[in-house]
């Protein structure tokens, strides 16, 4: 799915050049559940933004099904995000004036297949909350709306930036279970950023990023089940 070669990224802050990513090489296959681990400021989020087409200012090659993102113009990049990518953020980023149903509808509008919103909400356990506004939901419920909004687009890859970072352990478990099911049932590639090393045991590939470089890539033959994770 993704072939990443020599990916670098630097920010200029006055005279100081801050090298965030330093020549990353990585292959990502369709249907993989990848966890990217690393300390704060290691470049995880920047890496994810580049793969998701949010950040286009980088050096190196990022090929998505043999198409180099670096060569995409703005229109092609919009189409790339529209057809292939969904994001799940730690801060949920729901539209506060839209109901749960309408927030999911924002995702549905972009998909060709137009899956049923009610079915998706049923799947994430929010069917009875569909007319509520985000301000009336708990953190876990908000994140489930964000997941529903991501799934309904029918993307090839979902990027999750600390999706459980603001949640308690039981809620986080529900969210992770939804992500795992989505990965398994729909064969959607999930790329997860987290600080939580335990969560890495759920995925089949773990990438350690330290100081803008890949420190190690660990392929997990038999990922643990959710029940075995210590939160």
């Amino acid at each position: 799915m993704y072939i990443i070669q020599g990916l670098s990224k630097s920010y200029k802050n006055g005279e100081i050049i801050n090298q965030v990513l330093k020549g990353i090489d990585l292959n990502i296959e369709t249907g993989e559940f990848i966890t990217i681990l690393g300390p704060s400021g290691s470049g995880k989020s920047t890496f994810l933004n580049i793969l998701g087409g949010l950040d286009t200012d980088f050096q190196g090659k990022v090929k998505f099904f043999d198409k180099d993102l670096a060569t995409f113009n703005e229109k092609q990049m919009v189409k790339f995000r529209r057809d292939n990518v969904s994001f799940i953020f730690q801060e949920y980023h729901l539209l506060p004036t839209l109901t749960v149903y309408e927030n999911v509808q924002v995702g549905q509008y972009l998909s060709v297949s137009k899956s049923s919103i009610d079915d998706i909400l049923e799947k994430v356990g929010l069917a009875e909350h569909k007319n509520k506004y985000p301000s009336q939901l708990s953190g876990g419920q908000k994140q489930r709306v964000a997941i529903a909004r991501a799934i309904i687009k029918n993307p090839k890859v979902i990027f999750c930036d600390e999706p459980t970072g603001a949640l308690d352990s039981s809620t986080a478990k529900i969210i992770m279970s939804l992500l795992l099911n989505m990965n398994k049932e729909n064969n959607i590639t999930v790329i997860l950023i987290t600080h939580n090393t335990e969560l890495a045991n759920l995925s089949n590939k773990v990438v350690y990023v330290v100081d803008g470089e890949i420190d190690s890539v660990k392929v997990v033959e038999n990922p643990l089940s959710l029940e075995k994770i210590v939160w």
Binding site: S45, N49, G52, L54, D55, T56, E74, K75, V78, K79, F80, R81, R82, D83, V85, S86, F87, F89, Q90, E91, H93, L95, P96, T97, L98, E102, Q105, V106, G107, Y109, L110, Y133, P134, S135, Q136, K153, D161
Partner: protein
């Protein structure tokens, strides 16, 4: 520290908003203070003129047969010569001065009616396209205002007007050549009695200020000039209560109020006050609402921060006082506005009043007044902002943190959303975006409203000079209007229409007495030179002259008269009721027109002679019989030129309206985008195209803009009917503020164009926006 946060919020985080508001307040204060200073100066000019004994009225005494016999015997002139020749010609041929003829008569009039008087003489000629008016020096009335130097004593000396001195860069001792003769400038003067000095000898044609020159020589040089001369007596009342001089005593009498030349200053002052009233009120209301909205935005943006600070132990008053820098929103631009208006007022006054030949008093705004105004407004703004902040900060810290941006849709939003529910997803999403922030929604409505009112007003005003001129051109189809000196038979004048004037009084509905001129027109259908058109319908109503009197719109508005009303007119002897048969297009003047037959039937008095007549051809009569012949074209030009300043004012207002409306609209869209930036970025990250995002986040605001324009139309109609109607009563003209379909379409078209321009700028901004970090960053 907290004050620093507020300063940073204004200057750094919201610099666009801060500077936009500052510009708006700067323009408003500049405009307000310029108008106030101008008004101050116009009134000072008026006061100066009073001090220089500006005339109260003009007149020429009427000589009785006995007076003429005495005059003839005194100067050994035969009565046949007096019958045959023009009176002025007789005086010239026999080297007799006006004082010699009128001397005794004038003394009697002065004593009987309580006034002082002085003869006023001026001669006219043209050199190289410049219109010269040579004014004879006055001792008592309409005295010259010497800015520099003194009256011409020697034969080669000349006094010139201040405008010419400025235009030609002349000073005392400079050389000035007229008709190849060189003069030395001995004085530079203003001419207060001749407020509009650019009049021709007929008193109607107004020369362009750029080409007119007013000079004065010594008496010897003046008398030696063989040019057209205008002579009249100027009077100033000495008694508190002026007495009415009966028409039997004077050949003609022109009161200050009816004198177009002198009236111009009063007209300017009343016009200026009208503009101050309307514009400043409108601008202040715009600025007031803008300030309130900005304050609310400031508070909403900082609510979470203040919730946290409150949680940390900060007290309410500490948080409230941290908003003190909001005073800068007012102090900086108002001070700058005052400074700019003080610096520029001299130039602006010169441009706007180049037809006045009085020196500019250069009175600037009183420092104490300026400081007081700024202080009062500042205290007001601070008190207002503190009150709003206090209302918001009453809640406990946790509620302040929670409430930020997560509030569910309130009842108003829900009703609006239901009302504007759309089937198409994007249209629905657009509505959700628009109603997301009712503050921005109202702001856009308000910008449409402000833009609409300003443009409608300036368009309404710009049509005023043309409307005046057009109504004149449409109604008065004669080429010449001749005013007769005596009872003359006009049947010899080809195709003439005679008229008879009686000066009467009326009592208005408010019990105010008012002078009117009742003009009875010769009912000659063939030679009907005056046509009347209904003010509302534009229908020809000339035939209504036989059913009563036709009045003009200003007079009708001033006395609350409508068609069918009865009006009591009276002179010293008796009262008569007349019926209002029509209201015509004219916008000023207290002339009431009727037909000769209606007059004769109603006043039971036969019209045996005419006061004057209208004709197509230049009348050929003995000049002694005609006092004055007015050329219609000259009169038309005079009216047009008189109101030319309105075009400048309306142009300035249009610019101002565009600027303020534009700034307001830009601020609205800016706030809309700023507050919805995260939503926009979210949609962008999901793969929404720029056109979809534009549709959802910007284009939808065209609806509140149109709502604002729609509200501005009835508001403006109401404003023009009520406010301008009332102001017209105290002014001496009716300022029509018509709202035609063309005006409405222009306003709408212009507003949409402006919206498109602003929208394009912000669409480009959205297109370029890739700052997804903002979306990903956790906010406090």
């Amino acid at each position: 520290m907290l004050i620093k946060h507020c300063l940073k919020y204004l200057f750094k985080s919201n610099k666009f908003l801060f500077f936009s508001i500052n510009i708006m307040i700067l323009i408003t204060s500049f405009m307000a203070f310029t108008l106030l200073i101008t008004n101050n100066n116009l009134e000072t000019v008026n006061e100066n003129n009073q001090a220089l004994k500006q005339e109260d009225f003009q007149f020429l005494p009427k000589l009785s047969k006995n007076d003429i016999n005495i005059f003839a015997s005194q100067h050994q002139i035969s009565l046949e010569e007096i019958e045959e020749k023009n009176f002025n010609q007789i005086l010239f041929d026999h080297q007799i001065s006006y004082r010699d003829i009128y001397g005794d008569k004038i003394s009697g009039l002065q004593k009987n009616y309580g006034f002082i008087s002085e003869i006023q003489q001026s001669k006219f000629f043209e050199v190289n396209g410049n219109n010269f008016r040579v004014v004879k020096h006055n001792e008592k009335i309409n005295k010259f205002f010497f800015v520099k130097g003194e009256m011409a004593a020697e034969d080669n000396e000349i006094v010139i007007d201040i405008n010419t001195a400025k235009k030609k860069d002349l000073n005392i001792g400079s050389s000035f050549i007229i008709k190849e003769k060189e003069y030395i400038v001995s004085g530079i003067a203003g001419f207060p009695g001749l407020i509009n000095p650019n009049m021709s000898d007929t008193g109607l044609k107004i020369y362009k200020p750029a080409t007119s020159v007013i000079v004065s020589f010594n008496d010897k040089q003046y008398n030696a000039l063989n040019e057209k001369e205008k002579i009249y007596y100027a009077g100033v009342w000495t008694s508190q209560k002026p007495q009415e001089i009966p028409s039997a005593e004077v050949e003609y009498l022109l009161e200050k109020n009816d004198n177009t030349e002198i009236n111009i200053l009063d007209l300017k002052i009343s016009m200026n006050k009208m503009i101050i009233g309307v514009t400043v009120t409108l601008l202040l209301s715009i600025v007031g609402i803008m300030l309130a909205m900005v304050l609310i935005k400031m508070i909403q943006d900082n609510l979470k921060t203040y919730g946290v600070l409150k949680g940390m132990g900060y007290k309410n008053y500490e948080l409230i006082f941290s908003f003190s820098p909001t005073a800068l929103l007012l102090i900086l631009p108002v001070s700058l506005g005052i400074l700019l208006s003080s610096l520029m007022n001299n130039t602006i006054f010169g441009v706007m009043n180049n037809d006045l030949l009085a020196p500019y008093p250069n009175k600037s705004m009183d420092m104490f007044f300026s400081v007081s105004v700024v202080s009062i407004f500042t205290i007001g703004v601070l008190a207002f902002s503190f009150l709003i902040i206090f209302l918001f900060l009453r809640k406990n810290s946790i509620n302040l943190i929670r409430e930020t941006s997560q509030a569910k849709n309130n009842l108003i939003k829900r009703v609006l959303l239901k009302l504007f529910a759309r089937k198409k997803f994007l249209s629905n999403l657009r509505n959700k975006f628009i109603f997301r922030n009712l503050f921005v929604f109202c702001l856009v409505i308000f910008s449409g409203f402000a833009l609409g009112v300003q443009i409608l007003m300036s368009m309404g005003m710009s049509g005023f000079p043309d409307q005046m001129a057009n109504s004149f051109e449409k109604q008065y189809k004669y080429e010449y209007k001749s005013i007769l000196n005596d009872k003359v038979n006009i049947t010899n004048v080809k195709d003439a229409q005679g008229y008879f004037v009686r000066n009467l009084k009326i009592d208005s509905k408010n019990n105010n007495s008012d002078d009117i001129s009742l003009i009875a027109l010769d009912s000659n259908e063939k030679n009907q030179y005056i046509h009347f058109y209904d003010y509302e319908t534009n229908k020809n109503i000339t035939d209504q002259l036989s059913n009563g009197v036709i009045i003009n719109k200003w007079f009708a508005n001033k006395h609350n008269l409508k068609v069918g009303d009865k009006l009591t007119v009276y002179d010293n002897q008796k009262n008569n009721d007349v019926t209002i048969a029509g209201i015509n297009l004219d916008l000023q003047g207290n002339e009431l027109y009727t037909s000769q037959t209606y007059y004769e039937d109603n006043f039971l008095e036969k019209v045996n002679f005419y006061s004057g007549f209208y004709s197509k051809d230049m009348p050929i009569m003995d000049k002694g019989e005609i006092r004055q012949t007015i050329v219609q074209k000259e009169q038309y030009e005079a009216i047009k030129l008189n109101f030319e300043n309105y075009k400048i004012i309306s142009g300035a207002m249009l610019l101002l309206g565009m600027l303020l409306g534009g700034i307001l609209l830009s601020i609205s869209i800016y706030i809309a985008i700023k507050t919805g930036e995260k939503n926009i970025l979210l949609l962008k990250s999901m793969g929404y195209t720029n056109s979809e995002i534009n549709k959802v986040s910007i284009i939808g605001y065209v609806y509140p803009l149109l709502i604002g324009i729609a509200i501005s139309i009835p508001y403006f109609i109401l404003l023009s009917k009520l406010l301008f109607g009332e102001l017209s009563k105290s002014a001496n003209f009716f300022l029509p503020m018509q709202t035609s379909l063309v005006n409405i379409l222009t306003v709408t078209g212009f507003s949409l164009l402006f919206f498109a321009l602003v929208a394009i700028v912000y669409m480009m901004k959205i297109k370029k926006s890739t700052s997804f970090q903002k979306l990903l960053a956790e906010q406090l």
